[in-house]
Amino acid sequence: MSEGLVVVVRSVIGFFSLLIFARIIGKSQISQLTFFDYVLGITIGSMAASLATDLSSRAWPHWVALASWSALGFIMEKITVKWRYASKFLEGEPVIVIMNGKIMEEVMKKMKYTVSEIMGLLRNKGIFDVKQVEFAILEPNGQLSVLQKPEHLPLTPQDMKIKVSSSGISSELIYDGILIEQNLRQLKKDKKWLIKELKKQGIHDVSEVFYASLNPAGNLYVDRYQDRLQSVLDIGDYKGPY
């Protein structure tokens, strides 16, 4: 029995099974995960690890457990999407922890959150004074959504009645010295135009460019491999090996 080979084959089975099941369950963002999703992920991952390395038992029971947990996760996912009543119980619901600058102690106690944790979440949002908060809502995934009081909200062009044009989404034209012709065509431009624009910036070949993008307003951003900076700022605070 070649243990190494068996582990390789079982690892391939575990890896791709996990990939397929994860795609079926469908949670793509770690930030969307509730505590239960997180625990579910750890458990399924642990089963995949046992499948690959625990040669004292057959691969099949581990794989069945992996498939069963994934199936249950999928069913729970479907239930929470289709049935809001169950979703409230299974995934929890957003709760208000600060209202008009007042901390809701009872809610925090129920949610097992401390004031310092909430303050930390507020600071992550750039808010250092509870009085500035009109509503702070604790989401089921543990994130804090904050609505500041109107007097503390940042000024927007709309408040100033200033007309602004949309900058749109930039498309990559060059990445790692390679031209992405598909994006160029989508923006109704051609290679000739791009080379002309690059020449204006003193670039003679696409291979000199690390990254270039164009936004719908027509602004071309170009980053060369040689950035030609006079002095590069070092933000390291102590000496290391490099």
Partner: protein, 121 residues
Amino acid sequence: MRKFLVISIPVVTIILFILIMQGGNVLKRPLGNEVGIPKTIEMIVQDIKNENWDSASNHWDNLSKDWDKVIKRVQFSAERNEIEGLSLSIASLKGAIEAQDQSSGLQLSYQAYEHWEDLGE
């Protein structure tokens, strides 16, 4: 076509994995010119009962060769302990045959047969 591939590739992959993991029961059966492990064990048991030690030794050689081939096929679906258990029983059986020990020979033969039954189950 794209949707078909998106669905069919994972389905085929999962079926292939299930076949690899559950193929032990089929792959442990004799292929080609192999006599088969249980049949060889039966022949060894008969030889030991009849105290026909030369024939038992020849059958043991065939059993050992067949088992080496079967291990390669069932290693992905069977548990290591059963494989090692059967290997150990076969090795010990050789000793019992050489010592012409009927009692140990029969015990080890039936032990090997039990390991064989559990292999890939």
